[in-house]
């Protein structure tokens, strides 16, 4: 066959092969594929192996949003195939580089089309475009695809309308069209004609699948008769072809090139990137998600949006030059968009005001790839989520994920009033686990929190997000109630502590063999960048954890709100955007 089969589109499955919550096992040109349809209708065509230990994903679990490997439970997101969760590292967000290989998918004529590296569009067949395509039962054949195609040209069948009625009348079958991967046959009898297009899927050098589509759907009463007619005829043809192939020398099986997964892949943090806005998104929808809260649905321009996990946030680069962080509220694997909620801050320095007043539907925004410094464990039978005001946003993604996974949770939502509760459509779905605490004073809030946190099961974790005073109260009450630090997870919107940047000290970079001075008024982060050391960062106020660095020696002067008290006491990590040194010198692991 003349054109390179690796650049062609081929059918790899038919639409009925992909019922909900099923994983289809396919193969094309020697490469095995795991094919599954998510609840949003998207068809995923992936390399059939888990990146962890190479186990086939075709035996995995399709839960509608993620595909879970049966071996060690790694989960991969619908659409991107990015890893969303590693049970052996429940407290960590998997690096974005852990992403399975995907192949394109197009549904046409009731078939799923894909390819190694296909160019253009899947073939358009005029006779099927004009008609009402009707898929036959697909038939795997143990014979070289070329031979199957050749013999298919001799296939004989009767038109739909005449089956079994006019025995004895001559059937005339002619080849209307033939190309590298398909043959089109027309069968006529007594004025009735049916055209059948047979696509041959090259499974391997010695194996193929015949995927037949008729140009017309028979009436309900004739459907099974037509299907049986072709199935019987094609099985006869298959048996003949296989007998012929058995007399030929067996071709060497094709060997698909499978990229090696590097050992470090799962270990290495993302490449330092600074505050880059590498993505462009369009505002697909903007709506009033609650009083003073605007919801934004951001859709990709071009490629799929990168994988994210519950708790992830993005930097939004605003038209006025400001950069703000917003949590993603939708759960991974659901839809192709990012959703954020933006509260109009009365004392806005221009961030929330710009999003509320300037940005409109259809506008293009620059955003960073998602980062996750607030990862959700999925190994707890009961999780307590505590939201204050707009702090609901990351917890919404968490609640939806826990609900989908069948894990218990309570979502406590502290808000001024019902009108201030955001994303009512999502809250409705979470209703049985949602507890609203409305219009409480700070004292009443503290009492409510004390009640919520009074009893805890052994496996429980608390996730809390909201205004700083409420987070302080929650953390204090949790500590008093006996929750260990590592079970209380929090995310501040911003760091409201007064930063003291008067100290001056030295930093030694152990891996770069550099010693640099940090003067009063400078930050470690700025000094690093001035000296050509690339560092990722996001909020640059000690709230998000992106610019964290390990400390090997010296005593940090923590001024962030990202680390918890015991982490601060350990002194082995530092947020380079705000924190400094109490000792004369810090040795950093960069």
């Amino acid at each position: 066959m003349s054109p390179d089969p690796f650049t062609c589109w081929h059918p790899i499955a038919s639409t009925p092969d992909l019922p909900e919550r099923h994983v289809f096992h396919g193969q094309l040109l020697g490469r095995e594929l795991a094919v599954w349809r998510a609840d949003d209708g998207f068809v995923n065509v992936w390399e059939n192996r888990c990146l962890h230990r190479g186990v086939r994903l075709s035996i995995g679990i399709n839960d509608g949003r993620e595909l879970k490997c049966q071996y060690h439970g790694w989960r991969y997101s619908n659409r991107t195939a990015g890893c969303t969760y590693i049970p052996a590292h429940p407290a960590d967000a998997p690096a974005r580089t852990i992403c399975n290989r995907t192949f394109p998918a197009v549904e046409r004529y009731g078939l799923i089309w894909s390819g190694e590296d296909p160019t253009g569009d899947p073939p358009a067949v005029a006779v099927l475009d004009r008609g009402t395509p009707f898929g036959l039962r697909n038939l795997p054949v143990n014979a070289p695809p070329e031979l199957v195609l050749e013999r298919l040209a001799q296939y004989r069948f009767e038109p739909n309308g005449r089956l079994h009625y006019d025995d004895g009348e001559d059937v005339s079958v002619s080849v209307c069209h033939r190309d590298d991967w398909s043959v089109t046959l027309a069968s006529s009898q007594g004025g009735s004609t049916t055209t059948a297009v047979f696509f041959v899927q090259p499974v391997d050098s010695g194996r193929a699948v015949i995927r037949g589509v008729l140009d017309e759907t028979p009436g309900e009463d004739r459907r099974l008769i037509v299907l049986h007619h072709h199935n019987t005829g094609l099985i006869q043809l298959r048996d003949d072809i296989e007998a012929e192939a058995a007399r030929l020398p067996t071709p060497e099986p094709m060997v698909a090139s499978i990229d090696r997964v590097s050992v470090e892949l799962a270990e290495i943090p993302e490449a330092p990137a600074g505050r880059q806005a590498s993505l462009r998104v369009r505002v697909a929808r903007k709506w009033e998600a609650a009083d003073q809260i605007a919801g934004f649905e951001l859709e990709s321009i071009g490629a799929e949006l990168p994988t994210y996990q519950p708790g992830s946030h993005i930097d939004v680069h605003l038209p006025n030059g400001l950069i703000r962080q917003y949590s993603l509220t939708n759960e991974p694997g659901r839809g192709e968009t990012y959703r954020i909620g933006v509260k109009l801050e009365p004392d806005s320095r221009g961030g929330s005001r710009c999003l509320h007043e300037v940005v409109r539907e259809g506008d293009v925004l620059a955003i960073s790839e998602p980062r996750n410094n607030f990862p959700l464990r999925r190994d707890s039978l009961c999780t307590v989520l505590v939201a204050g005001g707009i702090g609901i946003t990351p917890l919404l993604a968490m609640a939806q994920t826990l609900q989908k996974d069948g894990l218990g949770y309570e979502l406590h939502y502290f808000a001024q009033s019902e009108q201030h509760m955001a994303f009512g459509d999502v809250l409705e779905r979470l209703r049985p686990s949602l507890v609203a605490h409305l219009g409480l004073s700070p004292d009443e809030t503290a009492r409510a929190l004390a009640e919520i946190l009074a009893h805890r099961g052994d496996a429980s974790h608390v996730y809390t997000c909201g205004p700083a005073p409420m987070l302080e109260t929650t953390r204090r009450i949790a500590a008093e109630a006996g929750w260990p630090d590592h079970t209380v997870h929090f995310e501040y919107f911003k760091n409201t502590t007064e930063i003291d940047d008067s100290s001056s000290f030295q930093i030694s970079l152990s891996r770069s063999a550099l010693t640099l001075g940090v003067a009063g008024g400078q930050t470690i982060l700025a000094v690093l960048r001035q000296n050509g050391v690339p560092m990722p960062s996001s909020c640059e106020q000690g709230a998000c954890g992106t610019c964290e660095v390990a400390v090997l020696e010296g005593e940090p002067d923590h001024q962030d709100v990202y680390l918890n008290d015991s982490e601060k006491e350990r002194g082995d990590r530092i947020m380079t955007c705000v924190s400094r040194a109490k000792s004369d010198r810090l040795v950093l692991d960069i």
């Binding site: 499955a13 009925p16 092969d17 019922p19 909900e20 919550r21 099923h22 289809f24 096992h25 396919g26 193969q27 095995e32 609840d39 035996i59 679990i61 399709n62 839960d63 509608g64 879970k68 049966q70 039962r137 697909n138 795997p140 459907r223 099974l224 299907l227 049986h228 199935n231 099985i235 069948g406």
Partner: protein
């Protein structure tokens, strides 16, 4: 209580555990050192089953051998609804018997290949695999047309029967015997459906299915009780 002479890696013993789990029948498992001890071939065990096979059940003194016979007994006795072994429907019971015999075929080919690979049994592995593929082709064809008729199971009724329980384990463990199910998509979908039967239980090598989408039925959907 029923005693089941049992071995954890035996497909035929698993068939009984699966049936009893679905029918919510409690039983006592009596481990037989099948491998490497060959206890089922011992003099003592041959007093229980002169053929030297497991499984065997002892239901309060009533002793029965042969996996597919035991399934018939369990369903007839412990399924008050009469759906798992539908004796009241002559056509359906005929089909059930037909597919129970088919299950003898899958056991003697697909599961024999697995015994050869895993436990060192001396079978003609090539012949086992070839015959298993021939049976799987027939079953895939059959199940594909069942789906076209809006049916989910091996027999033509709306409810699964002992035939599904007899065939499923041979199919789902076939890859251990080197028999791929890549070419049998309808067969693969049926295994998902069996895994979603209430009371389904696993054994080494068999993984549970994920949850079906709530409020939906269809090919991969749950079955009504």
């Amino acid at each position: 209580m029923i005693k089941l002479y049992d071995y954890v890696l035996s497909v035929n013993c698993y068939k009984q555990r699966l049936m009893m789990s679905i029918l919510d029948v409690s039983y006592q498992s009596i481990p037989v050192d099948f491998y490497p001890g060959w206890e089922h071939k011992s003099k003592e065990f041959k007093k229980i089953n002169p053929l030297g096979h497991i499984p065997v059940i002892d239901d309060d003194g009533y002793v029965l051998r042969d996996a597919h016979a035991i399934l018939v007994y369990l369903a007839a006795k412990y399924d008050p609804t009469g759906r798992w072994y539908p004796v009241s429907d002559s056509e359906l019971i005929g089909e059930t018997a037909q597919w129970m015999l088919f299950a003898e075929g899958t056991t003697n080919t697909a599961s024999a290949a697995r015994l050869h690979v895993n436990l060192g049994y001396d079978f003609d592995i090539g012949a086992c695999r070839e015959s298993a593929h021939r049976l799987f082709r027939v079953l895939d064809d059959h199940l594909w047309f069942r789906e076209q008729q809006g049916r989910n199971w091996v027999c033509s009724g709306e409810h699964p029967t002992v035939a599904d329980i007899a065939i499923f384990p041979d199919v789902i463990l076939s890859e251990e015997g080197g028999i791929s199910r890549l070419d049998y998509p309808a067969l693969r979908r049926w295994t998902d459906r069996v895994k979603r039967i209430g009371g389904f239980t696993t054994m080494p090598g068999i993984f549970p299915a994920g949850p079906a989408r709530r409020g939906r039925s269809g090919n991969a959907g749950p079955i009504p009780d």
